[in-house]
């Protein structure tokens, strides 16, 4: 039966290729139905699997960890396109397996959606799970945060492999206690950076100790609820970090961990955490320090994450923000950029975004510095316009253009720096619209 299903799956992949269609998810969906919802159980994987999950930063960390192994001469399989549900992973394995369902590689590096971790890894043996953070994200799709954490916590109760956890996120660090028998739990941690604060100033989760219910005490907050926390009552938060990022200087940007100095390309505290998770994985798998250095100091992203464009001579930066934490960080980066600038915000409410756009009200727009005009677009162009207006930004400086191409033209019609924020399903159409503009009117894509 399994063999038959594999053959059917492979035929679908071939057909889609012949039709020049993307085979990222559909073959997996078909197999998911045919296999009684156990799509990934048909594969035989003998090599170690490393899974990366969490609300923000999955794609970056997955790609970096893949580069660590690739740079060390291993054959790896990775879901680069971010097809991170069980059906997407099934489609990936279908493309890489033989007719018996055997997958040949040295390592599988899989970005995995938070809600799909238990589903996928109850069927495939997992060597290491890296958990980056848990933030409010697409609440209506994922259900409330607590439900989501409970799901992964349930999985961790019987998991005996390596757990690499963000020790500065109480929502994540609590997973370290799920299975007291597991001796392979490791935490990464970061010392405060220049903009760390004494008080939280953005909407945050996890103010209470999940074990005893007492309020958590913070030595410092880096951003949102990420920081050095501790429960005075039960001691949750007391752990020996496996790896610590220190001497963080985002102006350069540079940080050290285990005595090694790293100069990442992207200059956010956010990225420091991601790269510290990468360094932790490198340490665990004894990756050559030269390889780790190279990966961390050269890694950058060209898929709408701080991506640069020139619209004619207008210097433009595009960044993905799919939840308030990401958007608040992006606004910070935008403000740190000197001089006047204009913002284009593209907001969609497709199923993958979560149909509920109320998260935009958790973005703190009152921090705007020298933003001279705002253009809004996407299926919810008006919602983001209303949101920004109610933060006190002058309504007459807001232009609503639901049509994406028109919004890019409107943005580019005035001189000066431009910043573009797009949410999940908006980011690729926005990139395409920016490129169309460049093709027509001149400029440069990165």
């Amino acid at each position: 039966m399994k063999r038959l299903l594999i053959i059917i799956g492979k035929i679908i992949v071939k057909l889609l290729r012949l039709l020049k269609r993307n085979a990222g998810n559909l073959p997996g969906i078909v197999l998911w139905h045919l296999s009684g919802h156990k799509a990934v159980s048909m594969f035989k994987v003998d090599c170690p699997i490393i899974a990366i999950t969490g609300t923000n930063g999955k794609t970056s960390v997955t790609n970096c960890i893949a580069q660590l192994f690739e740079g060390s001469g291993n054959k790896i399989i990775i879901n680069k396109e971010g097809n991170n549900l069980d059906t997407g992973i099934c489609s990936l394995l279908l493309r890489h397996c033989d007719m018996k369902g055997r997958v040949k590689a040295d390592y599988l590096i899989l970005e995995t959606d938070e809600s799909h971790v238990p589903v996928v890894y109850s069927q495939l043996k997992l060597d290491t799970l890296v958990v980056l953070n848990f933030f409010r994200d697409q609440l209506d799709r994922n259900g409330e945060m607590e439900t989501l954490i409970q799901k992964i916590n349930g999985f961790c109760k019987t998991f005996e492999g390596n757990l690499i956890l963000n020790g500065d996120d109480p929502n994540t660090a609590r997973l370290g206690r799920a299975n007291p028998q597991n001796k392979n739990v490791r935490y990464f941690h970061a010392k405060p950076y220049a903009f760390a604060t004494q008080n939280a100033f953005e909407a945050s989760e996890g103010r209470f100790c999940p074990f005893c219910g007492d309020a958590l005490e913070y030595e410092y907050y880096q951003y949102s609820h990420i920081g050095k926390f501790r429960c005075a009552k039960c001691g949750f938060g007391d752990y020996e970090p496996y790896i610590t990022a220190e001497n963080i200087d985002l102006d350069k940007p540079v940080f050290t961990a285990d005595g090694n100095e790293y100069s990442p390309v992207l200059n956010s505290i956010y990225n420091v955490y991601n790269m510290t998770a990468v360094a932790a994985a490198a340490k665990l798998y004894n990756i050559d320090q030269k390889v780790t250095n190279k990966v961390i100091s050269t890694y950058t992203v060209n898929n709408g994450r701080m991506e640069k464009f020139m619209l004619g001579d207008r210097d433009t930066t595009l960044n993905l923000a799919k939840n308030p934490v990401g958007a608040n960080m992006t606004l910070r980066v935008m403000n740190e950029m000197g001089g006047e600038k204009e913002l284009l915000f593209v907001l969609n409410d497709n199923v993958a975004d979560g149909l509920d756009v109320s998260w935009i009200w958790d973005i703190n727009f009152s921090v705007f510095e020298r933003v001279t005009r705002v253009v809004t677009s996407g299926t919810r162009a008006y919602d983001i316009a209303v949101r920004i207006k109610n933060s006190g930004y002058p309504a007459e400086k807001i232009v609503v253009c639901p049509d994406l191409d028109k919004s890019v033209e409107t943005l580019a019609e005035t001189p000066g720096k431009k910043f573009v924020i797009a949410n999940y399903t908006a980011v690729q159409p926005t990139r395409a619209a920016l490129k169309r503009y460049i093709e027509k009117r001149g400029g440069k894509a990165q």
Partner: protein
């Protein structure tokens, strides 16, 4: 200068789905009219505030876990809160805040969390946590004397029954119960609703109903609020009404 005094309860705990945005909107709409809007905050285990000294009391929605935390604290405030309500202080309640003012909330495991019992309704969560009313919602309310179509987003498991005077009639979505006709609870000084979005985002008439009520409470001759330019809000709502009601 006139002042509108708001007490925002449990802002640090009940703030799912951007509900704090409602405060930002009320503040904005007061400011644009030269009304000072003072927003105080109250959270668990603090000294019981003088509820009667406020014009409006606001409670947002939260995750189930946090709601239990709050129910016990709220019971402590019952008498003072009820007195304020009897004196005409406005209560604006979203989702969890709405449920907790009723008789009780029965959670998915069958445990009753006692409510404040200010109103007769009660809420029962379905046994399956997967059964939730989630999605865009449109209701028609007549609280301002004219029909207003209010657009928001609902996300609740609890089914609320025993509502005598609902906030509006459901045109799209679920409302108080799965596929029900009525949404929320209304009295002249109470709006209780499942609508997030936040609720006031594209429904300026509702904001202004509350501001007007508060500013005119106790006044001999009610004064009209100065009109504001709500073009963005109205257009925003129009887009959603077209999308939701025309496809039905």
């Amino acid at each position: 200068m006139k002042t509108l005094k708001i007490l925002h309860m449990y802002a640090d705990l009940l703030d799912l789905y951007g509900d704090s945005g409602n405060m930002e909107i009320l503040d904005y709409r007061c400011r644009m009219r030269g009304i000072t809007c003072e927003i105080d905050k109250y959270s668990v285990d603090s000294e019981i505030p003088d509820f009667s000294s406020y014009d409006l009391i606001y409670i947002g929605g939260g995750a189930d876990l946090e709601q239990q935390h709050i129910a016990a604290d709220l019971l402590r405030c019952r008498e003072a809160l009820k007195k304020a309500y009897d004196e005409g202080v406005f209560l604006f309640l979203i989702c969890g805040g709405y449920q907790l003012m009723g008789k009780y909330y029965r959670d998915a495991d069958g445990n009753d969390i006692p409510g404040l019992g200010l109103f007769d309704y009660y809420t029962i969560a379905p046994e399956s946590r997967k059964k939730r009313c989630i999605g865009n919602i449109v209701i028609r309310t007549e609280i301002t004397g004219k029909p207003v179509d209010v657009v928001g987003f609902e996300n609740h498991g609890g089914q609320t029954n025993g509502v005598k005077s609902p906030f509006g009639k459901v045109l799209y979505g679920n409302g108080n119960c799965s596929q029900s006709e009525a949404e929320g609870y209304f009295e002249k000084n109470v709006i209780a609703t499942y609508l997030h979005g936040p609720c006031l985002a594209k429904n300026p008439e509702i904001s202004d109903y509350m501001i007007s009520y508060c500013m005119n409470r106790g006044a001999d001759s009610p004064a009209e609020l100065a009109p504001l330019d709500d073009k963005l809000e109205i257009d925003c709502r129009k887009v959603m009404l077209n999308r939701l009601l025309n496809k039905k």
